[in-house]
Symmetry: C2
Subunit: 300 residues, 2 copies
């Protein structure tokens, strides 16, 4: 039977992941599809207990440290936003939801905000803390692609600035629901078409406007392949994103952390543009950040 | 009882509109929601007969001239694309679907294509012909906003070049289905927020990338209103579109033809940018173009 010291929780919009934590790291990991997006406020505690119930002690109270969209306005309880520039973590400012079970001391870590231009993050700040724990002194950019891509400027252990792009969500909507779906439904983006379109859009961001319907027209007039069309759409959108954050990556090292296929596209486009960019495995970064938060609470 | 000389048909993706035409114009108008998008190939003739059946003569054969998406690959029969530069109409190259009823001679007018950059239109060419019939000698731009916005360069009675933007479809997807829906659902765009955002995006097209999630973040951090958020999204997208076709409207008169509210937004943004732009009523342009096609067939 597992008897953890504390419990780590990464609670996003679609997934809930938990770890029973011992003094040297995770003893056991579990997950469910009870993400924040599908839960009403009064369903969070049960969704958590379902996964961690048998880890809880007969007596006493276990720290449960959570990050992610669980702290959104429509989540379990709204956790605060800490304003950048600041270090990514501050577990002292965690927010405690009301919990019926006395064996859990649930703390939801704050997100980060930026006043101008307005921006917010919830969950990524903990991944960033995990990255800094593993790479102390890093000075450069983190790029976290996904539904929304976060670009994060790190220096001196702090998040100096960040910028969120909706590129992944826009690609998903355009490729599946707009007229472009007729030219690419569910095709895997072709790498060469991607790279060519990304370079074109990086040189001329107007292509993110003029180049969209041209994909449909090209497929009607010259029978371009669904794979080439999907690659071109992805390249136009990511190229325009890179053009819009050139000031971030131009003269600094960039580490890309995300799903391997998508990270590979960003890395290819950045390298083609002469950037100092590399991909890194970020699968355990949230856990590293949650662990850093636990240690910070322990020592204060 | 109406006894037309010919029948005019404007058959788009969502609507079917027909007119019984006499020597001096329409005798009667009818419409249904049997647009091309909801019909299988073998359902087109019945959808048409449903509306025009009692207009057909006891003996003889009536010309039925149609334009629009009825001629798409997934329509009644694929009509050809004529390559620009060319005059917008050529009824001699209409395509005849197989029709069971011997009293109808159905002709679907060709669309227009452009090889580089690749582009196509179906239906707008007939509106353009209607505009030229009413404004012979016009030299300048037509802007036809809608789900897809067509910019059309006209000179010497010909379509010289055109460019299609998916701005309307992108706005619809982002405002109703992306994370931005949480900040604007179905709100009417605020005019001042629209104008400010359009001017910003026209000056810096990167805002069409960086400015999207900032709308959501702004509504979380400073409680911007749904109307302001919808106005800002519309302004960013239309401003980026105008930036991407500045070469079209910069030194030429532009006539905007579309739904009044949307046309008003384009006119505002163009005028703010110093363009020579005005809106015009285009409600009957398709009918004018179909009439021009009928006369051209009559005289040849």
């Amino acid at each position: 039977m597992v008897t953890p010291l504390w419990i780590a929780v990464d609670w996003g919009t679609t997934r809930l992941r938990v770890w029973a934590m011992g003094p040297d790291g995770p003893l056991e990991a579990r997950s469910s599809d009870k993400g924040m997006g599908g839960l009403d406020r009064d369903q969070f505690e049960d969704a958590l207990t379902e996964l961690v119930g048998d880890w809880l002690p007969a007596t006493g109270r276990l720290p449960v440290i959570a990050c992610g969209m669980v702290g959104a306005r429509t989540g379990w309880v709204e956790a605060e936003y800490r304003q950048t520039p600041c270090p990514p973590l501050d577990p002292q400012h965690a927010t405690r939801p009301k919990v019926r079970d006395p064996r859990m001391d649930v703390m939801i870590l704050p997100g980060l905000s930026q006043a101008a231009p307005p921006d917010v993050m919830r969950g990524e700040e903990t991944q960033i803390a995990g990255f800094l724990a593993e790479n102390p002194g890093f000075d450069g950019m983190l790029c976290l692609p996904g539904t929304h891509c976060k670009w994060v400027r790190l220096s001196g252990g702090k998040v100096i600035a960040f910028r969120t792009f909706m590129t992944g969500e826009v690609f998903s909507l355009l490729s599946r629901q707009s007229v472009l779906r007729l030219s690419m439904t569910d095709a895997q983006p072709d790498a060469a078409s991607f790279a060519k379109a990304a370079a074109e859009a990086l040189a001329n961001p107007n292509l993110a406007q003029t180049g969209l319907f041209a994909i449909r027209a090209g497929s009607l007039l010259t029978q371009t392949s669904p794979e080439a069309n999907a690659g071109r759409l992805s390249g136009l959108l990511i190229g325009a994103e890179l053009a819009a954050c050139r000031d971030f990556w131009q003269d600094r090292p960039t580490v890309i952390i995300g799903a391997p296929q998508l990270s590979g596209l960003y890395e290819r486009a950045l390298r083609d543009a002469g950037a100092d960019a590399r991909s890194a495995d970020g699968g355990m970064l949230a856990l590293s950040g949650l662990t850093a938060a636990f240690h910070e609470l322990e020592t204060t």
